[in-house]
Symmetry: C2
Subunit: 426 residues, 2 copies
């Protein structure tokens, strides 16, 4: 299949992860090695915003050593954004602007590293490009700590956030154990708005029954106050302490986020809505309903960037899907996302595959019931078998003599605009 | 000087740290090697509570491999507590009970690993013992992430919490940079109720001007709303983002904790007191007064147990002060705490010294003005010179094939009670 000659553009989207830069590194290094096809390798500053605003970086001008260091650098070195494009069906202007920018710079390959929304954008972009007869190859590279993309066994970024949170829960669990006569309960809030994959992963820290976490609350399982209170009480009776992991997206049976519920139980204690998220709500509930002291941890953005204890498996796979994206583009794929496909068998092996962007865009994968304990407040052995291989190995880390990591910093050489107009991003 | 023969008792007190077990390991291993003096080596279960309740563990019956693993295990493996004894001046019962337990088990050496309060307890215990003519050697081993003990250059536990938080701020800072078009500000709350040493340490992450943290709020510097808002605004003008580190104990000029202030500025936004601590209060303030989106991180108890990225310097010093405590006891010291004494000179070297427990008990060391930037919202080069050596080196970490750390677990063999009575802890 004949491939167009032209520039490759790489963009990163949505929440950063420990390994989204490893994927970018894979794309960049693979693309730079194919100069017969790629007449240039560009990066979009701050994701799709940079495309709309025509802020494109020439990645060829970066130090190759810094590019290689992206493998060991968390967050999104090209910049990211949470900008939502206007719906193509109602307003084509954003998409037309993207094509305008692509055309002006002869961008023929678009590698978009992101989640559902990004795959949706890339799919629509490809559709519009065909309509206006602009040849473009769009390949999606999966990324999300939430692990909620369909059609892929798991998502790069998940293994590392899982490993860090599991280690943190193991460590904070020892704290709760040591101070159980005083701080009897700990609520550890983790990310995951709609899916409980991250919360579930902390179950990997529980090597024996008495270990933290004792209870895991996931967005998939409606939070029933009485049932929860009862489980905390029985946990206290058994272990004299209770360590609860709470996904930030845990909801009441009525579907309200616990972190915003404010209603039934949160107001019991203080007469007003809880701030500070689901973890704070659960903490207040424990203190008022169980009557023991509880405290909260919320790693927040540190968890998704914790390169200092990232999964080697995750980093390697993230880098691989980046390289494979370029190979797929050269091999004739278009409007596809790279997937991770786990091989059958006792030992973990994982290959890659392809799936239509359109399919991914509309799929969301939450934690299935068979991955949960019968009471929904823990994980099953099937989940452990699924998740355990993803956190294996410690990623390479470059540490300076000062005792802190060395992370890449790109120079971000912007190329001169060519469209001749500014575009007002709504 | 003649030393009594008898048992040694080790207790851990207050908030756990990454290295309080390393100190315990130092004491235990050094004591077990001196069987001509120490007729037994006991541990108190959950600190002073275990002494009052006569719950003592025979540490000689533990697997020596697990004892050695304490060097690489966070939290307090013997158990800790926050129990406050009744004031000796008003009510001698608690102290008399301790002497009763010591006498019953022929405990002649008391190694107490803790902070100010523990040193106070140990000092008073020694005083009462002299009054009732019971010979006891009490040696304090410094421990606190807060680094607020006087008479020691720094405290074991501080280097590790500093290193972890600095790395986390470096990593989360890259997140804020990547997503600055959306999550423009991040407030990262760290521990430290009265002293800002931990907050200050995150300044080590700032290798260049544009790096996080841009502003550091310490309990030592009264929080003036207008000044803070102005600094956030100028930071946004300069970097398009602002990363704030906030000590949990930051106070208003009137002396109210920000996390509990609820008053002047917190109610502007929501009409009620802020929950969730100082970080949430600062976040709400940024959103209402500066008008940009902000988010909070609060590592909570994970930060003080983050053995997975602990300071090798810290671990080694923690172990050393444990061993030195035993040597000091054998050498004739009594009612003293081991200190760390930094040698003069360009390269970091640190020895140990001794200070009277009574002195330490009443001292508290906050961050001095010369360690702060002129505006009080950052650190000076003098602070960096002080703190940088403490986070150097990566502590040994044992990682299982499953990708998670292996931490010690003691069997906690309780010895039979000998006092013949139960004691009701108030």
């Amino acid at each position: 299949m004949k491939r167009p000659k032209g520039k490759a553009l790489i963009a990163q989207s949505g929440g950063p992860t420990a390994v989204i830069n490893a994927s970018a590194c894979g794309v960049i290094q693979a693309a730079l090695a194919q100069r017969d096809v790629f007449t240039g390798v560009y990066g979009a500053l701050n994701g799709i915003l940079g495309v709309l605003q025509e802020q494109l970086m020439d990645l060829e001008r970066e130090d190759p050593g810094q590019i290689d260091r992206l493998k060991r650098t968390p967050s999104a070195a090209l910049g990211s954004c949470r900008h939502k494009l206007r719906a193509l069906e109602r307003d084509r202007r954003d998409y037309e602007r993207i094509i305008e920018v692509f055309r002006a710079h002869d961008i023929r390959y678009f590698f978009y590293i992101g989640g559902n929304d990004s795959m949706d954008t890339a799919a629509k972009l490809g559709r519009l490009a065909r309509e206006v007869d602009y040849e473009i190859v769009a390949i999606g590279v999966p990324k999300t700590i939430d692990n909620d993309l369909a059609f892929t066994d798991h998502c790069p970024g998940y293994g590392s956030v899982a490993k860090f949170n599991a280690a943190s829960v193991m460590e904070a669990g020892l704290d709760t154990e040591a101070l159980s006569t005083h701080d009897t309960c700990t609520v550890h809030e983790v990310m995951g708005r709609n899916a409980g994959w991250i919360a579930a992963a902390t179950g990997l820290a529980r090597r024996s029954e008495a270990d933290a976490p004792h209870l895991i609350l996931l967005p998939e399982v409606p939070f029933v106050v009485e049932r929860f209170v009862e489980r905390v009480q029985s946990c206290l009776a058994q272990y004299q302490r209770c360590f609860v992991v709470c996904g930030e997206g845990v909801k009441t049976p009525e579907g309200a986020y616990l972190g915003e519920a404010g209603g039934a139980f949160a107001t019991d204690a203080f007469g007003h809505a809880q701030l500070g998220g689901a973890g704070e709500a659960v903490r207040a509930l424990i203190e008022t309903r169980v009557g023991v002291k509880a405290r909260t941890n919320r790693a927040g953005t540190t968890q998704r960037n914790a390169m200092h204890f990232a999964s080697k498996t995750d980093v390697e796979e993230a880098y691989r899907v980046g390289r494979v994206a370029v190979e797929a583009a050269l091999g004739g794929a278009n409007a596809m996302m790279i997937t991770l496909e786990r091989h059958a068998g006792a030992s973990y092996r994982c290959g890659t595959g392809l799936v239509e962007l359109e399919k991914v865009a509309n799929g969301e994968k939450t934690v299935p019931p068979e991955f949960l304990a019968p009471d929904g407040m823990g994980v099953s052995s099937a989940f452990t078998a699924y998740a355990a291989p993803l956190i294996v190995g410690e990623a390479d880390l470059e540490i300076a003599p000062d005792g802190l990591p060395v992370y890449a910093r790109l120079r971000k050489h912007l190329v001169a605009p060519r469209t001749g107009r500014r575009y007002n991003v709504p």
